[in-house]
Amino acid sequence: MDPYAIRISNLSKRYLLGTEKSDSLYYTLANLFRRKKQSNHRAFYALNDVSLDIRKGEVLGVIGPNGAGKSTLLKLISGITYPTAGRIEYQGRLLSLLEVGTGFHPDLTGKDNIYLNGALLGMRKAEIKSSFDQIVDFSGVEDFINTPVKYYSSGMYVRLAFAVAAHLRGEILIIDEILAVGDLEFQKKCLGRIEEVGKSGRTILFVSHNISAIRHLCTQCVVIDKGQKVFQGGVQESIAHYLDTQLNISGSKLADRTDRSGNQQIRCTDISVYNRADQACQIVEAGASVTIRLQYQSQQPTVRNVIVRLEFRDQYGQYAFVCNNRLSQGIFKNIPTKGTLSCTLPKLPLNKGLYYIDLILRVDGEDSDVVSNAYSLQVTDGYFYQTGLLPIANRGLLVDHQWRIE
């Protein structure tokens, strides 16, 4: 018997990236009559020659930075989109639990939605019927099962959706970043359920930014970066490999980085962090005043409507917070063709640890320069609170607050 549940060989997926316009009818028709065909499309390989064998009963974690091709891989396996080249073979039924609540219709009752969702996932009515009670039980929405789901709270909605997917029977289960939703209690329940499913001998492919969940659930991992498989092996080694490469990338100079996207009309050439004394530094204290300076250069004579966004992530890839000029004071209507943008955080709300900053520059509504892990920031002990004490690691952001005895 074949020990593999899924065999993937030389899988590639190419996307043609073009401007919105190049997809319009006018453009296509006009192109028919042009002697020299214009091509506004750039080829982009979301996956490039990936081969991967997954054993039966394995719980495989798929990790990698944003935009590495993890979701594309899952989409190809589940048949949502077609590969450009290569081959996927699997045995048995494959269920993909992509995004919770997809396919729910707000006007239908919880009960109808269970059936509809199950059918969308490829189940027969009789099969759904036999799991129906378990689903309702797990979701905890018995009392509202005959109410249209538009009246559900978002928590109930998520619970029901997960319950449907988690109780359907398939030999292979694909899970993409579902733990991003729901309350902590429910997330635990989901993890427990996934663990249970994993132990029952089913094969699971699991994509998550939540490294601790990966560590907890998976038996094997594969690291994907820039559309390629860069590592496959045990969970600890894979995670270590992934975190290492993340650190290395952000060490190289921003101007030389090629792993960026956007139309590059405006490019960021340098990003650096300054402390209160205006000295450049790589390590800052929790609670310190910090200024981040971005140097940029533009190809165009005018740069209008600029949105600049810095996204802070912790070492597990989870969002910490976002600095966005559009939200804090409005977009920059006009900026010089070359210069520096600076962002000051009067009191850095990060606990000690390693953080990554993703950079997104948008000009006139289009992504101009996008670099993930543009900078890695080490935060050390500091006086966020007067006491100089800090919570233990992984307890979220630091927030000013006052206690009083009344």
Binding site: Y15, D23, S24, L25, Y26, T28, K75, L76, I77, S78, G79, I80, T81, Y82, P83, T84, A85, G86, R87, I88, E89, Y90, Q91, G92, L94, S96, L98, E99, T102, G103, H105, D107, L108, D112, Y115, L116, A119, L120, L121, G122, M123, R124, K125, P148, E171
Partner: protein, 271 residues
């Protein structure tokens, strides 16, 4: 355990049709869902399914029967018109609903795999409901006006079926084209607005000058509508030109299926 192989090769039409059978439960549920949510949160609810064709009938009868005084021989104009609508209404519903269905379902399409053809196909039930309502009107009016009917009436559902095929064919073309070119979303309302006048719904095709007939019957709905009335009233068969309509219908349906199947693989990439 069955084995699945995914390669760059697209599904053949036969495989697609077979997958419809595999997913027949989903087909039923999608179709039933559309019925359930169609008039959700409306005060009049299902009454709309009756009001809609009723108003169309009133307007058409007023314009063609009262104002223009179109001659419909011994058949009362209102009966003549409702017979014309029996094919047109399900065609219009299906063209309209299935044409925009793929774009409307783009979120699901990019998240879950199932045979995409089920999306436009499942709108058939909605159109059948509309057809049944109009057909019921027709039977009532036939009885009320005591119009003599023949056994050929038994053939009438066949032509309603043809109208559905025609609506599905148009819907397949429009929805498949609109995946890449959103422009086509605006096409079905135009087809329907023009078609309601270029189809012999409220006037007989006999009014059309002989020279125009070969062009007139290029519209598949023209032949279907005339053939339906031939079945209901036992009037004269509309002539050889009507066969042209049926030939066009077959061509449109077959090419629509082929084209839809061709672009099915890229639907998730464009949505």
């Amino acid at each position: 355990m069955n084995k699945t192989v995914i390669t760059a090769e697209k599904r053949t039409l036969v495989e697609t049709l077979r997958s419809i059978y595999q997913y027949k439960d989903l087909f039923r549920m999608l179709a039933w869902r559309d019925i359930q949510v169609r008039y959700a949160q409306t005060y009049l609810g299902l009454a709309w399914a009756i009001i809609n064709p009723l108003f169309t009938l009133l307007v058409l009868t007023f314009v063609f029967g009262v104002v223009s005084k179109v001659d419909t021989a011994e058949i009362p104009h209102v009966v003549f018109t409702i017979a014309g609508m029996c094919c047109w209404v399900p065609f219009a519903t299906l063209t309209n609903e299935s044409g925009k269905a793929i774009v409307a379902a783009k979120v699901i399409i990019s998240k879950i795999y199932f045979p995409r053809i089920l999306i436009p196909l499942s709108k058939i039930l909605l159109s059948l409901v509309d057809a049944a309502i109009v057909f019921f009107f027709l039977l009532c009016l036939l009885l009320f006006h005591q119009v003599p009917i023949s056994y050929a009436l038994l053939l009438a559902p066949l032509f309603i079926f043809c109208a559905l095929a025609c609506g599905l064919a148009t819907g397949l073309w429009v929805s498949a084209l609109s995946v890449r070119f959103r422009d086509f979303i605006h096409i079905s309302p135009i087809i329907l607005r023009i078609g309601i006048f270029l189809t012999p719904i409220a006037y007989p095709a006999a009014k059309i000058p002989q020279a125009f007939l070969p062009f007139y019957f290029l519209n598949p709905m023209a032949g279907i509508t005339e053939a339906f009335r031939w079945a209901v009233f036992g009037s004269e068969w509309p002539g050889n030109h009507a066969f042209l309509s049926f030939a066009i219908l077959i061509l449109l349906f077959w090419s629509g299926l082929r084209y839809f199947n061709k672009v099915e693989s890229e639907m998730a990439d464009y949505s």
